[in-house]
Symmetry: C2
Subunit: 403 residues, 2 copies
């Protein structure tokens, strides 16, 4: 008998019918002799509806109250899933974040889990009552908090760690982690396994399967993660420690991100503080900066460019222009209509020439490379959005990922 | 400075616009120098929607989960009202039942409040943060419970008692308590004050203004209750102890109830146990029996008839027929299409002839009286539903209630 933590996302519990399907799946796992703990997100559009209600009341709703409001979405889903489990003959009980003992830092909207007092969950499991736990929420100083983006995945991993579960299964609307987005690359292949490190890069690179926070938490606690579909019985992708993997692929997958914009500060006077000043100001304005490239043009002068999402570009340019005079910057330029394409692979560390091979594949697809950024297990290139589809296919082929 | 508990029902918080109006009213009370604690029900149709969702999952949803589900309705409303208060510049914080320290008996669906640990509410008031508390819910043994019908009114009164509030204002969609339903009787008059005892009879008799549980709790704890409209500034009706009232009216008001059905067991053998057996069986099947009349027809034989709501009549007849043979009962009859008309007045105790005066008024309205039931401060008659409107007006006139 093993202990499984099963997490179902908003699409998986999007209707009463789907909730019954979730219950049937959990009931099968119980019938197979597993102990199960279930984590659920809010039903499909519930969160959007609640956000809409709040927006009708206040332009900037109080953050404590926003958390109290949003937390009800997951609570509704847990109660319904527990009811559906009862219908299948499996004993179950819903748990809100506070009932499950999920303590977070006292921050609203994006709290981190600090500790889980799993005693109520353990006692439920001992009584053969499946705990159905609200994802995305916790409690801090008596107030309801929410974990922000990727919160429900993170709840699942943290609960799996606290219960010392044998594995944590993330049920979603895809069959697993692919070598590329199957909507872009027809012969994309599902991976049987992938390392935490690769998954982190992929998650950060816009592969929407699993939130990086959840992957990080799993890596830190050694939780074996599985990503699989809630709509089929197909085996999913196992995410585990690099050290335990049989073979490290040079390139595991191709990820891409759309609606990328570039901001460039041209002819800036070189100084120790300039970069820190600009990027601190951007961070304070919650502008998420991705790739940063700096080059020295001539002595004492430098060009800096960075990418942000298209939604943030206007704000980013405003901030840069405020700094322009003070930085001796001659021009602030922006460019939209860009995409990012990245390859990720743990085997890259020990294989030179991978980046060059990627650049060739991009050239073959007539994609001009505008910026490059690399890490030990990743190469990212910024290219024009209209060349993305051909680029992804070309890179996927170049590294023989379909085989 | 006085401490007010203000309770707003589902209609009063039925839309973002109305929630803003509620916040404006609370803000005015705060500006007038009052300390305020607010109790809210779920927004308009929220509860029905949640019940509908549960019905799609299970025919008989698990009661613990049903409570967990329904409690979210009030939580949503508290968060939105607190946000709206922030917008008016008044500090506020939402409280679920458990956050407010509302402990109930460990029963789901219709729990009674056992105790309120008001320390969190008191501390909030001390910090000038208006607590906005979810009505209708509490906690028992770590699980969310709901109070059942009339629960939010009861929460308001219990919180007022725990906080030793100066008064508890129940905001609703009517201006107060009337001498009769203004939709039935054009010259019905709003009462300035009424005793707990009269209000209890009126509440039980189908005057939908205030739930009897709330009135009982107020009477027991000496909480001064006010019923008033959330849509106007008109003064409402004060409900207080009979002993403190200046003048006891013989008849305070006329109440009526529709969709009443009568079940009759005819020619039953007289026995000590028969009545207990039948009515225990009905109670176990949750059939709410109202008026009971028994008469001896001839030696050793008796007729028993009782009223139930029309929705319960089929179940009641089934149960009676199961007992019929064993009780030597010759016939079980039912009659639907009935109404109940009642007069209530604390002064009745010391005034004979009130019932007779009512019977005359009913005769004048050509309403045949099918059953009569009396208490110290009430006379109820069962009449045909089609004679109700004329009967209410005639009785209202007969006792000069419009003056």
């Amino acid at each position: 008998m093993s202990l499984l933590v099963m997490k179902f996302g908003g699409t998986s519990v999007g209707s009463p019918e789907r909730i019954r399907a979730v219950a049937a799946r959990v009931a099968r796992a119980v019938a197979d002799g597993h102990q199960c703990a279930v984590i659920v997100s809010a039903m499909g559009h519930t969160t959007d509806e609640l956000v809409g209600l709040a927006a009708e009341i206040a332009e900037q709703p109080d953050r404590r109250e926003m958390d109290a409001l949003l937390a009800t979405g997951e609570q509704i889903a847990t109660a319904l899933v527990a009811m559906a489990l009862h219908e299948t003959g499996v004993k179950a009980a819903s748990f809100t974040g506070w009932q499950a003992g999920i303590q977070t830092e006292p921050v609203h909207g994006a709290a981190r889990i600090e500790a889980i007092d799993a005693s109520a969950l353990v006692s439920s499991l001992h009584q053969n009552v499946v705990p159905v736990i609200a994802g995305f929420q916790g409690i801090a100083q008596g107030a309801v908090t929410t974990l922000g983006r990727g919160g429900s995945d993170t709840t699942a991993v943290a609960v799996a760690a606290a219960l010392r579960a044998d594995r944590c299964e993330i049920y979603t609307d895809v069959n697993g982690v692919y070598t590329a987005d199957p909507r872009l690359v027809q012969n994309a292949r599902k991976l049987m396994e992938i390392s935490y490190e690769e998954m982190l890069e992929l998650a950060n690179l816009g592969s929407q399967v699993l939130h990086p926070r959840a992957v990080e938490t799993a890596k830190r606690n050694g939780v074996a993660l599985v990503v699989r579909s809630s709509f089929s019985n197909e085996e999913g992708t196992v995410i585990r420690d690099m050290a335990t993997m049989e073979r490290l692929r040079i390139v595991t997958g191709v990820a891409c991100e759309k609606e990328v914009a570039r901001v460039a500060l041209l002819g800036m006077t070189v100084s120790h503080h300039h970069l820190a000043d600009i990027f601190s100001a951007l961070a304070q304005a919650s502008v998420n900066v991705d790739v940063i490239v700096q080059s020295v043009v001539k002595t004492g002068e430098t060009d800096v460019s960075f990418t942000v999402s298209e939604g943030d570009v206007a704000r980013a340019v405003d901030i840069c222009e405020e700094f322009a005079t003070r930085l001796g910057c001659q021009e602030v330029k922006q460019e939209t209509g860009l995409s990012k394409i990245s390859i990720v692979g743990a085997g890259m560390i020990s294989n030179p020439g991978v980046a060059a091979h990627m650049f060739q594949a991009l050239a073959a697809a007539q994609a001009d490379i505008k910026m490059v950024s690399t890490s030990e297990i990743k190469v990212s290139c910024i290219i024009a959005a209209d060349s993305l589809d051909a680029a992804v296919q070309s890179v996927h082929d170049a590294f023989s990922l379909a085989e």
